[in-house]
Symmetry: none
Subunit: 190 residues, 4 copies
Amino acid sequence: MVEKRRKEILDAATEIFSRYGYYGAKMEDIAKKAGIGKGTIYSYFDSKEALFYEMIKHAIEEYEKGLDKALNIEGALEERLHVLCQFHGKYLSKYIDITQIIVMEREVFSKELVRELIKEKTRLFNRVKNAVKNAISKGELRDDLDPHLASIIIIGSIGKFYGEKICYGREKLNKIDPKGLIDTILRGLK
Amino acid sequence: MVEKRRKEILDAATEIFSRYGYYGAKMEDIAKKAGIGKGTIYSYFDSKEALFYEMIKHAIEEYEKGLDKALNIEGALEERLHVLCQFHGKYLSKYIDITQIIVMEREVFSKELVRELIKEKTRLFNRVKNAVKNAISKGELRDDLDPHLASIIIIGSIGKFYGEKICYGREKLNKIDPKGLIDTILRGLK
Amino acid sequence: MVEKRRKEILDAATEIFSRYGYYGAKMEDIAKKAGIGKGTIYSYFDSKEALFYEMIKHAIEEYEKGLDKALNIEGALEERLHVLCQFHGKYLSKYIDITQIIVMEREVFSKELVRELIKEKTRLFNRVKNAVKNAISKGELRDDLDPHLASIIIIGSIGKFYGEKICYGREKLNKIDPKGLIDTILRGLK
Amino acid sequence: MVEKRRKEILDAATEIFSRYGYYGAKMEDIAKKAGIGKGTIYSYFDSKEALFYEMIKHAIEEYEKGLDKALNIEGALEERLHVLCQFHGKYLSKYIDITQIIVMEREVFSKELVRELIKEKTRLFNRVKNAVKNAISKGELRDDLDPHLASIIIIGSIGKFYGEKICYGREKLNKIDPKGLIDTILRGLK
DNA sequence: GATGAATGAGCGTTCATTCAT
DNA sequence: AATGAATGAACGCTCATTCAT
């Protein structure tokens, strides 16, 4: 099936782009990873840039789906944060925050793409922010809390926490327990 | 003076690598930026990779010096964190977390380099951690705090906070006030 | 019928090769033009070069048939030349002197093919030459005329005349009247 | 000197493009012919297409210069035609009517380029036509002659005459005597 | 020492050809 | 027999690196 082959290429591209960056990734390696010939990629994607663009879109879509699920579950605040952490960790271990490439190599990509990705990142950020607002109104978080700052702390801390463990520590995902982190964020350092 | 010329090349390299990433950066552009001929770079650095490596080392050295200064000042905890934030922001606006390139394009560089950089990052992390421990023992932070987690939250939040403002918002550095962020981290979300 | 399919491919090839040249023509376009699948061509022809070769042969055969008809009609010299002109124009508008490709890209094709094509062109030339000789012996052309030079002038002039009108002027074939040309060739410039 | 190198590349390009056509010509071969590295060409010309374009322009300029000289000499009509023939032959043996490639592969090149080349060809044609008009007004050619048709016959015949001898016969240029041809054109076939 | 013209390995992309269906 | 998805050799072009000046 055609859709399956497309997906295989996207998965291979995700891995290779993540590992080597846009320029470091070679079409030949992506093809090899996908177990196909170099030319075949071009039946499914117009160019390297197009493939990269589609991969980003695909990654964002997956993130959105997962984030929605993570934010919409029932349960206590701690529990919900726990799910969010686990989702983010799982996602990170696949994409290693691939959108970062764009920011790093930003001059390379069309202004269009960069703008769109920033918009997307903002949208995702706002979902977390809304969840924070929600928790404030439900009395789960203190009512003088700035939702924007709180979101930055949540996202920044989780990212650092998992980034470190996955990138440097190479720890297995299911061995990572974010309970302490969540607790510390909620209670504060003081 | 030879050292001065070396420094000029490193500064040019920092800017170009930051903007375009490792592969996107061209030796010619770095030379032009430094106001010298392309071939001259090779009198000071063996190769593009070596130049990149030296640039990273140089960036880290600057960071270390600045971090030391920021962590060793006298004053209240909030004040010291404020200085840390400002330093990090200033640093970020110059290097846009350039070490990230290495993590993104990790397979490209020698294991040696990657290992050394991780070690370096760990060392920097530990300085913050020690400062946290110190603050705990002085009673400025609660004594059941996990210094590691606290450091992650501090570094992760500050990075996210400034990263967002500088990368996306393009805000002027001296207009950014981290007071709210520090307060929220310290008091917790709850 | 197999022969019909073969003919369809040849016709499609003629059009595409004429328009784009040997290298510019793509097998896929030829197949599309012929209304068949790409692979099918290879059931009828061994390779692109073979297809090109066969197409040339086919074009030459058509030319020979037409030339015979044009040269063998009864009537006054002027009339016969008129028919020759019209035939050449009609042929040109289909093949745009496709054999020229061979001469242009001569090193590309096997010496065999080039030699054979030159031989073929010579044979066609000789038919015109014989017709000239015939006209001389019948007293229709002056008897001190060099048949070879006369043939060159006839073929060269007619080719230029129609080539210009068809290639650049894009004139309709039936609007082109070679009467003046024939008259000038016969009477001379002086 | 830079101009010399540029000229060497143009000469190599002329030969390779003439021999293999636009698509058949490989940049590497042109470089090898010019005795330089592949990349060097790109210091002088932006792309293969640009090189081709420049080569055509260069060929036309040479043709124009030569044609002016040939048409402007003093002497009897026959003599002037003789010089024109020799010039055309010399030119042909270098360029083998390279502009023909454009016509053959016309869909490939920008409409701009094709239009410009046709305009150029028209201008060259008109110079011959003006020379014919001049000869008519001087009484060297009969006064009921159509200058356009006469030009076609002259150019077409000369092209065929030399084309045949050079392309097929591979005759040495200085062994070719156009006297008979000129005489036949002037006196007519009848 | 400093330069930048020259080089050629390497990559993105195309397309003639093959072969499983 | 007919197809068109898949292949990979080949080519245009880039850019890190060299070296004659």
